[in-house]
């Protein structure tokens, strides 16, 4: 069973953060939601591992509760 990786995987994490941010820049909320939703599905399929996905959802839920 593969574990969800939470260590830093990008050489320059700022680049990744910036890339997602820029993708949303100038979008209305509904378009941003649509973009995120498509992105989640694309990335989930790329990961292709239900256990990793489950852990990712769990972590996201925890962090959303704290926010």
């Amino acid at each position: 069973m593969t574990k969800l990786s939470t260590s830093s995987n990008f050489a320059k994490p700022d680049d990744a953060f910036r890339m997602i941010l820029e993708a949303h820049r100038g979008l209305e909320d509904h378009a941003s939601h649509a973009l995120d939703t498509a992105l989640v599905l694309i990335l989930a399929n790329h990961i292709g591992d239900l256990d990793v996905l489950r852990d990712a959802i769990e972590l996201a839920k925890q962090s959303a509760d704290k926010a």
Partner: protein
């Protein structure tokens, strides 16, 4: 509006008996729908006498179930009615899914050749019931009583007492076992005090079966948000006699009494077809449930089909799963009544078929949630999938316009786990896979060879010298050597077989065990286990 077949009520000598001397029967099946009829035929073919009761005296109230699966057809082959169903039915295997007016995705439910039966046929339920009723008439051990309505049930340790209302007044019979195949609104379910557990869906759907000549191909067409029915889903499917099933999603708050009026349905169908050249066969507005009884076996009262579990119609999982129930139960009940197997064998029916019901409910719920998103985010997810599906394979596979019925795989105490290396083939708990064979110069499918073994277990052996010894009540299907020839090698391949490989098949066509190197003792142990004699 459509074919109705009338049957006659006949007074039976049981009705002349006073209650204290009521007739005793081994099995009373309640409900002569497709499940009850099939179960009665199956039991009769296993040498069991059956009383089959139905509260009506006719069949043919609307088309209702129309999709019958390959597995159901293979079952009906074993009951002697498969060919008649296929001859009348419309054979199909391709489904297409459209988003707005563009084809998004297409699936083939049986892409490989070498199977006797197609993936599906469409056939109005009343034809299926009518052919099954004809078959019951050929079996003297079936006592089919129309206009016999069960009004009370008393449960005792070793039998049940039924009170039955007829046009001549009530009478009583006793039964060792009662099987309730009396449908979604099962009266017997109330009589044992059991209820349903599950989810009700608020979405409403309109079914219109229309008669017309049309050039649409014989495929299952499903639309999300089509131009003719904006924002909702639609389904088009062909039936025999130039009848087409149209299923349109309605809004949650639609008034069913208004929506089912032909003058209100007509413009919807005209928008879809682009013309008004059709007649209505049947109109129905429905909501559905995905739910099941917690237990299908209540001592001596056993539930099968819609009485035990219900799903949405979008996976053809209603009637087909009910037929799987019937096939799963018939051999077990026959063995228990014959005293060959312990009563606990019936419990495996509960184990196997309630797991199957869970699977059907899960699949059906997922389809429904995809078709009718409950929240704004669910709607966005669906929208994202539909949009991505135009260009990506992964999203096409997520588009859910109904996942069609396939036989369940059972995790069951009746199976003997694999002890050897297998790379393919049906594992224990799976349904047999068909393959083309020849018997001398005659073509015969494996499913047909199995259908000839109506009674009891069968040993499917891939010849390698002498056969393994088993009891006299186990039939053999021998492939290779002096047995059936597997010229195309498909049986060998589909069963991951090598010379000497043996599969032990249950009477319902499920694999109980398989061996690379069978010994008499190993096969005997697997057989005992599959009979519930641990």
């Amino acid at each position: 509006m459509n074919a109705v077949r009338q049957f006659g009520y006949l007074r039976h000598p049981d009705q002349d008996r006073v209650r204290s001397r009521a007739a005793h029967h081994d099995v009373v099946v309640v409900g002569a729908g497709p499940i009850g009829l099939s179960l009665a035929i199956d039991l009769a073919q296993r040498g069991q006498r059956v009383v089959l009761l139905d509260d009506a005296d006719r069949i043919g109230e609307g088309s209702r179930a129309i999709c019958f699966s390959k597995r159901s057809l293979e079952y009906w082959d074993r009951l002697g009615v498969g060919q008649r169903m296929v001859d009348k039915g419309v054979v199909w295997k391709v489904g297409k899914i459209f988003a707005r007016d563009a084809l998004l995705y297409q699936f083939d439910l049986l892409p490989e050749p070498g199977h006797k039966r197609p993936a599906f046929i469409n056939l109005q339920q009343y034809y299926a019931e009518s052919y099954l009723a004809d078959r019951t008439a050929e079996l003297p051990s079936i006592d089919l009583r129309w206009s016999n309505k069960v009004t009370a049930l008393e449960r005792h340790n070793d039998h049940c007492a039924l009170t039955i209302e007829t046009p001549d007044g009530p009478y009583s019979v006793n039964a060792s076992y009662v099987v309730a195949c009396d449908g979604a609104r099962s009266a017997l379910r109330g009589m044992v005090g059991a209820d349903f557990e599950g989810q009700a869906f608020e979405d409403q759907f309109l079914i219109a079966d229309v008669k017309m000549t049309a050039a649409f191909p014989t495929e299952r067409w499903f639309w999300f948000d089509p131009p003719f029915h904006s924002g909702r889903s639609a389904l088009l499917h062909r039936q025999p006699d130039d009848v087409w099933r149209i299923d349109l999603q309605l809004s949650r708050d639609a008034d069913p009494a208004v929506e089912r009026q032909p003058e209100n349905v007509r413009p919807r169908i005209e928008r879809m077809l682009g013309h008004g050249d059709f007649e209505f066969e049947w109109i129905s507005v429905y909501r559905f449930h995905c739910r099941r009884m917690r237990r299908f076996v209540h001592d001596r009262v056993i539930f099968a089909g819609d009485s035990a579990h219900q799903v949405s119609p979008f996976g053809a999982r209603g009637a087909n799963s009910g037929l799987e129930d019937a096939e799963n139960l018939a051999w077990k009940l026959a063995l228990v009544l014959r005293g060959v197997a312990p009563e606990t064998l019936i419990e495996s029916y509960n184990t196997e078929r309630s797991a199957a019901a869970d699977e059907n409910i899960r699949e059906s719920t997922r389809s429904t949630d995809f078709m009718a998103p409950a929240t704004a985010q669910e709607a966005r997810m669906r929208q994202a999938v539909l949009a991505l599906a135009k260009d990506t394979e992964f999203a096409k596979r997520m588009v859910n316009g109904g996942r069609l019925s396939v036989p369940s795989v059972y995790e069951t105490p009746l199976s003997t786990p694999d002890a050897e290396q297998w790379n393919a083939g049906p594992r224990p708990g799976s349904s047999l896979i068909d393959a083309p064979l020849t018997d001398g110069d005659k073509d015969i499918y494996l499913s047909a060879a199995f259908a000839e073994n109506r009674d009891g277990f069968a040993l499917l052996e891939f010849a390698n010298g002498a056969s393994v010894e088993v009891g006299a009540n186990v039939r053999r299907i021998r492939i290779g050597g002096d047995g059936l020839a597997d010229h195309e090698g498909l049986a060998m391949k589909r069963y991951d077989a090598t010379p000497g490989t043996v599969y032990l098949l249950r009477p319902d066509g499920y694999v109980a065990a398989r061996f690379r190197h069978p010994s008499k003792d190993r096969v005997a142990a697997a057989l005992a286990r599959a009979n519930g004699l641990q």
